[in-house]
Point group: C2
Chain length 124, copies 2
């Protein structure tokens, strides 16, 4: 997993997105123990405070739960994970369409470009 950050956006919110993705994609399973704040901060090469802030967001969403002395674990609720996954995907689709339409592309052109990209990726 790469920990590449855009210069254009706050690192803590990029950390939220990365961790969200790792959880809903199954990289971390329900109930899995997560690495500690300090450990993950070293891995991502960010300050522990920044990682802490990202985790606070994830906890607010319910994706992780915190046990003050034993560390953090991924939620045991697969339905919640699945729900978040669908919502993130839906957001991506909506955002993608909005941007393409702003550029003046039609629905047909968008689906065509998408199919092309899909078949192009098949051969890699």
């Amino acid at each position: 997993m790469a920990w590449n950050f855009d210069n254009d956006r706050p690192i803590y919110s990029q950390l939220v997105e990365i961790l969200q993705t790792q959880i809903v994609s199954g990289e971390y399973k329900p109930g899995d123990k997560l690495p500690s704040v300090r450990e993950l901060a070293i891995t991502a090469a960010v300050n522990p405070n920044t990682m802490q802030r990202a985790f606070s967001e994830l906890e607010r969403e319910g994706l992780v739960s915190t046990n003050r002395t034993t560390g953090r674990t991924v939620t045991e609720d697969p339905a919640l994970i699945s729900e978040v996954r669908k919502e993130l995907a839906s957001n991506h689709v909506t955002c993608f369409f909005r941007k393409m339409k702003e550029l003046g592309y039609t629905n047909e052109e968008i689906t065509a470009l998408t199919s092309e990209a899909a078949t192009r990726e098949e051969n890699e």
Copy 2:
């Protein structure tokens, strides 16, 4: 045109994106005179300096040219505009696929979701 900004990203780079989109989508035609920095700053409700910074970026790309005393105009080169438009679209497609794959979606699922979204938008 809405001038809504994310809190999560610098305003000047969002201004660049918006102006880029307005130009390549044909909202401003090749050779069109653009509103002045001060005028656009009022319209977008940002500081003139911030708008100025956005324009500097656009000029670096060649999309607009500056005449120090008469104002700015959109490039007369339709090929450049078309090229930028295609590049922006291509970036959107690539970025969309990357995000969806990170969530664990397959090519088939991505194209299916895209088609659904397209047909859904037809009926609105």
